[in-house]
Amino acid sequence: MGSRLDVNSSAVRKQIDRHIFDNEEGEEYAASTFAGFGDYMRRKKLKLQNLDAETRSSSQGNPPIFHDVVVHVNGYTQPSLRDLHHLIVSHGGGFLQYLDGKTSATHIVASTLTPKKREEFCKYRIVKPAWVVESVMAGRLLPWNSFRLLDEGHSQKVLHFDNGRFMGHARINDQQSYKAESKRSWYTSQARDMNRTVPETHPSLPASTASEVLSVDLTTGGEMDGEIFSPPGREMAADGVWSTRHQENAPRNDVSDSTLHVDPNSPRATGVRDNNNGQLPPLLVDDAILSKTDVTPEEYNAQLLCDPKMKNSSVNPEFLQQYYRESRLHHLSAWKAELKAKLQATAQEKSSGPKTAMKRAPGARRYILHVDFDCFFAAVSIRNNNPELADKPVAVAHSAGASSEIACCNYPARAYGIKNGMWMKGALQMCPELKVLPYDFPAYEEASRKFYSGILDVDGTIQSVSIDEALMDITMQCLEAGGTEGKGIIEGSIYREQARADEIAKDLRLSIMDKTGCAVSVGIGGNILQAKIALRKAKPAGQFQLKPGDVLDFIGNLKVQDLPGVAYSLGAKLEELGVQFVKDLREISREKLTSSLGPKTGAKLWDYAKGIDRAEVGVLTVRKSVSAEINWGIRFVTEGQAETFLQSLSDELHRRLVEILVKGTQLSIRIMRRSADAPLEPVKHLGHGKCDVFNKSVGLGVATNAAETIGKEAVSMLRSFGFSPGDLRGLGIQMTKLEPITAASTGKPESGQRQLNFKASPVHEKSLPSVDPDEVESPGRGDDTELGVSEPFGIRPSLNDSTQTPLNTSGTQFILPSQADPKVAAELPVDIRSCLVRNSHKRSHAAPPPSPSPASRFRPKTYAVELPPQSQLDPDILDALPDDLRAEILAHYQQPSEPNRPQIHPPTVQPRSSESTKMKKAAMTIKKRRGRPPMKPSFNSTLTQSNFILTKPSAVDSSSARSSRQSSPSAEQDGDISADFLAALPDDIRCEVLGEQERTRLQHHSEFGDTASRDPLESPSTPPGQRRLCLPPLRRKPVFTSKKLSTLPELREALTDWYSSFVDEGPLLEDVTALARYLKRVVLEEKDIDKAVSVANWLSWLIIDRAANSHPTEMQEDVAKKQGIVSDSSDTWSNALKAVQDSVASAVEERGLPPIEFL
């Protein structure tokens, strides 16, 4: 003690004690001053204390047990603030209505605290109202510790020991809800006491007796270690004020370990397997149990499980297997998954064929079939077992019991109003003679297999929707029939396409009828949505094609619920928006739809309303999650059972994960808990009834599919909810964020360690078997690569596929070297040689230079042998050559040695590094058929190839001459092409060469000045490697005066100067004509009427301005003297203006436009 708490509160205490209330004459009853809120509050508190003093004095009979206590009450309590107040004050305590500071009260009474206050108050004495009540009952001040609301450090888990045995972590059950509080509260118990015959427990009953009572209660309750799950109603049996006490003591009294522990393996729970396949008379049990109103869910479950027939519960270790064995839904979904995998395989097989390579044009017409069995189960069951029932109402269900669901019913039954998913009870009321058939899964599977085999016979993309329905895309076949690409319309093509679609559908129906003996219906439409809607009209046993023209009307008249994917909840939402029919949907804006239904659903419905469905047939969606969930038959008594069950569910999940070869990194648990107001047993036997659903997920960090890890995480998540096991109605676990298991780790589930993924080295890849079988077999292959002869074949893997490899057409199995020694080649047999030659041809085609340069097209076709240096040329041989050839060769040798060649791209020039390169280039130019004459370029011989291309941006272009002037100032060289050389050229080439030369020269002469001024700007700014389009030069803008004025501000300035300098004497005629001529050109050539008009207007402004400003003054000053001149000049100016305006107007008229209006 001696803490601040004590000091402050005792001060308050003393102050309260000291305060004596005599009458209402005290200072506090005076009027308060204006704005004296502080004073007001102080007085108010004083007055409240006056009240307390009165109460205290009036209840002298009570023991002053709260003598040293000052209490403040926070929030809602039971008993109420008023009652507590009275209790405390009448027992000598002090009471604070207003908590000035946390330390001024010794105790704070509260039932619950907000999290913030929890933090703030955690160091103070926060007690439950029961402390006051019980202290009063006990007639002494009970230690507040046993009533503390907050535990110091309550956020920590506390170890629990029970009889020296470690029980595991438990959490103090300190977070009571108001409801919980009220249930075991003062009033409730008082109210209950009224109804009870049990005599009121004596208020002064010692605490030890109380705990005995408690243990008895618990024992009968059949609790094992369920304190964690202590349900609110559990203490109902406890009496009166003690109930609160029990709550407090219970965690420390884990008494009843042994009494009613239901062992999952005990014979009672397992029971005898019932052959009657789950037909229970459950109502008997229910009645028996429900008659006992205040049982806990655990008790209830325990009793339920005691029933010997009760083997269908989750407590049974066999349950899961049993469940999955018999669950119809599970069976079907597993089957569907299998089918999907199968279809995927077939689709892949097909797509490797050439047919699917055909691409569909976007926006083309489509033909989708939706094929569906009519009442699949019923039809198959009838055909197989009871053909005589075909015309009678038949339903397929688990049993004829009232509570079994109808899985499928045939059309005669539907006529009675029976629907799939209905309960048998209702169905039998509608149609007493309904015949119920059991499931016959093998037959269904058989029928489905036949169904799919029939579907697979039809050519097209197939997507399985379920075991008895499938979507098919038969666009290709229909378009073939129509003879179009699906876009344009040839006469009658649409009709033929539609007829073809109908025909396919009819054949399909007949073939399936033939195979399975059951009818299918087919809907045909332009997309999946339309096909599905058409199917509805097609049923039963028919087909219907929804034609493009009818789509909008047809869909518009449907109810929204008829759209696929719209059911009750979505339908209800739409009804709120005032939508009943699909056409109403079209009235709503897309924004409104997306905002009220969510972006995806909204957009989808919006599209649906217009008959648009973007889904594609056969597009496989990647699986994003794997889960195992059971919501039926979940009845636990103990937490252990729930956890065992969860573990076996984890095993199941593990099995499924392994099945599809994935691991996941996120685990979610989904728990269905019986709603507080739901009965213990729902209508459907062992169903889940009305539930609250809780979800929680945890990231595992490492992808796993290990059953133990999953189980551990799932169990800890379940524990974290702290639900009573008896209230659990459904459990599910789901793995998301899936990763595929790599082939290496398939065998052993997971190592728990991340593994670095190294990319397979290229070497490794190279060692993979080649696509070309010939090549693998070829003995010559190794040599080929080693020699490094043919770069594109040997080294580059990207080219190393069958399309690029030359096919071995001539029957030799040797891969031929592409650069063969001519001598060797000559020795070869004829066929191989021919092959060789062809090969080298091919090569020069197959490996074009990477640039799209026009020059590259003219690479030599016959491969040129590199020229030896000139010095090594044998003059004799040269002499022996024909004249033209000799000239050609000599020309090549001349070029590179030509001195003082201007170099345009010095940095990119390849210096005289390799003589051979030059030779090669030179040789190539010779063979060129078009383009530049070999003489001209300076570039050809020394530049690298890319530069060569660059400097000739548009050699093919007709305007190439113009561009070439920019980059080649070598007109002089062009001029002196040797006559020899020209003579040696073939006629057509010579003409070209001469023509080009002429053009170039003309260009230079005509635009020399221009070019000279531009060139320095242009050549450096050309980015390399890109072809540029050269535009015709701009028409030069007409300019005014020798200063070459063109822009409007310049012109205005010039006009102003002109006017101001000639204002008095009037403008010179030639100036006016010049301006007029210029403005006319502006209109006609520059095509800027606005500018011309503006200039003319500017002139008129100047004149008007002058007249307005200076005229009056001048008039007064120099009336006589200047009169004549001024009027003269102003006249000449207005004449000038008129001339200018006329000139502009005539120009405008010349352009064929209506006249201009000047200022």
């Binding site: 700007l1017 389009l1029 015709p1032 520059e1086 606005d1090 436009l1153 006249p1155």
Partner: protein, 252 residues
Amino acid sequence: MPLPDTQAELAASFTKFLTVAIHQIIYLRSVYPRVTFLPVRAYDFPLRQSRHPKVCEYIRDVVAAVETEILKGTVAAAYVIVTSISSNQPMERFAFDLSEFPRVAEEDLCTTFEERGLATALSAVDMEAQFRACLSRLTSACERLAPLPADDEFGFTVCIEVREDALPPAGTTKAEANWIIADPGRVNLQSRSAPSSLSKAKDGKQQQQQPSPRIPSEKAKTVPVRRVEAGELRFEVWVEEARQKFENPPGS
């Protein structure tokens, strides 16, 4: 963003501007009720845009058709013509003279133009400034036009004028059938050769216009708008009034 430097970009820039201009024109000339236009900004300039979906769609289609023609290099000018509904006569013509657009072969549509090395390098901002100025001048030019007869309704059409040497765009395929060769007797498109749109009619009937603060002359006239020059994007805009605008007195 640089200036448009391929034919395709050039056409795209112009057609975007044309779209904006058409909206503004039909707003300014009250072709449709002014309440159906929303204030928007384009090129950082306050404008009006029609919010009627059909109108927008029509403009979009028309502009797309113009663009294909520009890409073919056949367009000499594009006109937005405001016509009277009652008489089906043109009233006003907003001309976009494109004769200086480069002509480019089809395979070179996306080839970058050779730079001309002009002294002042322009940027896209300058182009926008040009557009902005042009739109601003368009607004003021419309003020200078004689008001349209108050008791008539108006529609608008978009026409192109092809170059002298180009083939008419109307063809056999469906895409080409978007353009209808106009009946020369009814709508005067070829202003160069058709003087009927010229108001040489100073002798034409003088009509009583309702008095307005600035009385416009009652003859047809040309109101220059502006020339846009931004790199290769060079065109001129002006407005012409048709003689027919003054021939039908409002009362008759």
